[in-house]
């Protein structure tokens, strides 16, 4: 499919400032001061997301994808003036016209669970073992709504029913350990949805689940998003999961976005060598069996001591093609063409990237 016939578009063209997107993140930096040095977990991240749309953030451990989600919700304790004891945040996070980086902890707290909510990876450890599932859902409702306990409980039962828990009026009093893994994740989703949040962040929501249960949960999330018309950010390392849900995809490496664009063009015409590596590393059920996988050599970088220039350069097979720039200059996240839909952070000339992908990479995926 050619670029011109793209049907997906980014919610708002990056750089456009006239109408702010529902969620508009600009140059977000999340750094942590440690004894070994400054950890730049997220370093200059920008993206936009509208209601009803889904952004998939893909990356390996240490790419900064989970830190991004935590900082959107303001869940990191802030560092003191000396830069110790927490996260050093800069940049802007605009949620429905409200800026969150400069918001007070109390303002953030009022938004959490109400306007933005989160689904965590492992529902067994993410739910309190000593409180019943219903109590935990009702609690989330009562923080933000002045209702009686009975009303909150009713709401919890309603939500459990909606997420597909059988016999919700009796299961509401069960404890998390009495639920199966899939039901716990359903309950976790019910807890996140109890206040009708407009922004929902799911951090590896199906990684701890079996594949048949994962399919159920992905199905549920898709239905619920349509029903609630929320903006959804899904964070995962599983390219299959993002392909199922996401409209836009952002690939992160070393705290930065290296490729960002509509899901379709990122999957069918990826331009960053790291994205090629991710796709090549993964055996696919929908393709003939390859003789060999095409792994990325080496290991993910240390966030304290990122390689100079492009953070991916020590693992990149194509760095010879761009001279010394790869090891000295940090590349910008730039449009691959004039349309500004598909952004890539790479020194290789656009033409080289395209021919390399079509001639060398695509046949092996």
């Amino acid at each position: 499919m050619s670029r011109e016939t793209e049907v997906h578009t980014l919610s708002v063209p990056p750089g456009g400032t006239s109408d702010r997107a529902f969620l508009d993140v600009r140059d977000l930096r999340v750094h942590f001061g440690t004894e070994d040095g400054l950890v730049k977990s997220v370093d200059g991240l920008s993206f936009q997301l509208e209601r009803g749309r889904t952004l998939g953030i893909v990356g390996e451990s240490g790419s900064g994808k989970s830190v991004t989600s935590m900082s959107l919700l303001g869940l990191h304790p802030r560092a003191d003036r000396k830069g110790k004891g927490g996260a050093i945040l800069s940049g802007e996070i605009w949620l429905d016209g409200q800026e969150l980086v400069s918001a007070t902890p109390e303002q953030l707290r009022a938004l959490r669970g109400q306007k933005m909510a989160m689904i965590f990876q492992d529902p067994l450890s993410a739910m309190h073992p000593y409180y019943s599932v219903g109590a935990q859902i009702a609690e989330a409702y009562r923080v933000h709504n002045e209702v009686s306990k009975a009303q909150a409980r009713k709401r919890a039962i309603e939500l459990l029913d909606r997420v597909g828990i059988p016999q919700p009026d009796s299961r509401v009093d069960d404890y998390p350990h009495q639920f199966s893994g899939g039901m716990r994740q359903r309950a976790m989703i019910a807890m996140a949805l109890v206040c009708n949040p407009e922004l929902l962040i799911a951090d590896e929501p199906t990684t701890a689940l079996d594949v048949t249960v994962q399919a159920q949960i992905l199905d549920l999330m898709r239905d619920l998003q349509k029903e609630f018309n929320s903006a959804l950010i899904i964070i995962t390392h599983d390219l299959g999961v993002v392909a199922e849900l996401a409209d836009d995809i952002m690939v992160m490496y070393g705290g930065k976005a290296v490729e960002y664009g509509p899901a379709k063009s990122v999957f069918t015409e990826p331009e960053h060598p790291y994205a090629w590596g991710l796709l090549g590393s993964m055996p696919r059920l929908d393709r003939p069996v390859q003789d060999r996988l095409l792994p990325i050599p080496g290991n993910p970088p240390s966030l304290i001591n990122l390689p100079s220039g492009c953070a991916f350069n020590p693992r990149c097979a194509y760095k010879e093609a761009c001279g010394t720039a790869c090891t000295t200059v940090v590349p910008e996240l730039e449009p691959t063409d004039g349309a500004a839909k598909h952004l890539v952070r790479c020194h290789l000339p656009v033409e080289t990237r395209r021919t390399t992908f079509t001639e060398e990479i695509r046949n092996h995926l």
Binding site: L111, G113, A117, M118, P129, Y130, S132
Partner: protein, 336 residues
């Protein structure tokens, strides 16, 4: 839940019988294995100065010439129906529950232990409340403000508390507070029913001195437990729901952190009820602990046996209460 309690109760009773058997073996059987004749043992139990003929009767009464098992069952039977002892001159009745008769003080063991128990109970109760409140509170504050001045100060004080034993702090506190500054009376036990105000005033020092060491320990336990709980995923979930920080800490994290503390508290408290030996000694209060020390000093075997069983009873009871409390606190235990 009821079957759970019933099951634990059965186990507790079984354990008590085992303990009674072991004490019996230690006090009645081991000396025989060690080569003591029934006569020597009878003399040891009733004191010196009895004639051989009288000793013969003592032997029979105490059952030293009986076979092992019948002897044990007689001993058990006495607990339920009472028995009569003979010290060589007089027949002494010991009514049920009979845990033996002291031939040193001419007292039945059980009433003696019960008569001194209020002292121990008073000490343990007040100290327990104090250390639980202060230990958990300072542990929580330390954990929440980890690395702060308060945290470091409380860690230093708790290090002192753990390393300074009550028999060191008690005389020091008495010296300063009672003798130098005359702020408090030199502690003597006044019955609670006699004069509650005076009871409390006299108890302040034993309570605080005993609680100091425990509170120090509990501060550290709570701090560690809270730090663990605060880094748990469910605490992060609580924050993500938008709960105010005091609810996140006070409800979600604390609930997880105190559950093991409750267990330890039950065990410590139960052990103290069996005799706060050091504290009683340090403040010259005559509770169960002091009774144990005195009985050992005067080789009053029946009394030692009685106090041992009494202490064991409380440890086992505490275990039972802890198990039930744990099941009430942690829903995962109930079904197990």
């Amino acid at each position: 839940m009821l079957t759970f309690i019933a099951r634990r109760l059965v186990a507790a009773i079984g354990l008590l019988i085992v303990v009674s058997f072991i004490t019996f073996v230690i006090f009645f059987v081991v000396p025989q294995w060690a080569g003591q004749t029934p006569e020597q043992m009878a003399r040891a139990y009733v004191g010196r100065g009895t004639t051989p003929a009288e000793l013969q009767i003592v032997e029979t009464r105490l059952g030293f010439n009986q076979a092992f098992l019948p002897h044990y069952f007689d001993y058990l039977k006495a607990m339920f129906v009472g028995t009569t002892y003979f010290d060589g001159t007089t027949y002494l009745h010991c009514s049920a529950p009979c845990f033996g008769y002291s031939f040193r003080t001419y007292q039945e063991v059980w009433p003696t232990v019960l008569s001194v128990f209020p002292v121990t109970l008073s000490i343990a109760l007040g100290a327990g409340v104090l250390w639980l409140i202060f230990g958990v509170a300072s542990g929580v504050v330390s954990a929440v403000f980890k690395g702060s001045v308060w945290d470091r100060a409380s860690m230093f004080i708790s290090l002192l508390g753990v390393s300074l034993p009550v028999y060191f702090i008690a005389p020091l506190a008495m010296l300063v507070l009672c003798y130098n500054w005359s702020l408090l009376p030199s502690p003597t036990y006044v019955g609670f029913t006699t004069n509650p105000a005076s009871w409390a005033e006299n108890m302040i020092l034993p309570w605080t001195c005993l609680a100091f060491g425990y509170a120090a320990l509990y501060t550290r336990l709570t701090r560690a437990g809270m730090l663990d709980a605060m880094s748990e995923d469910f605490t992060r979930t609580a924050r993500a729901k938008g709960l105010p920080e005091h609810r996140v800490i006070g409800k979600h994290a604390l609930r997880a952190a105190v559950t093991p503390i409750v267990t330890i508290f039950g065990m410590d408290f139960g052990a103290l009820l069996g005799g706060a030996v050091l504290a009683e000694q340090a403040f010259s209060m005559h509770g169960v602990g002091a009774l144990a020390i005195n009985s050992i000093a005067s080789q009053d075997f029946p009394m030692i046996m009685g106090v041992t069983l009494f202490a064991a009873l409380f440890v086992i009871l505490a275990n039972l209460v802890v198990d039930v409390a744990y099941a009430a606190l942690d829903p995962r235990v109930r079904l197990a």
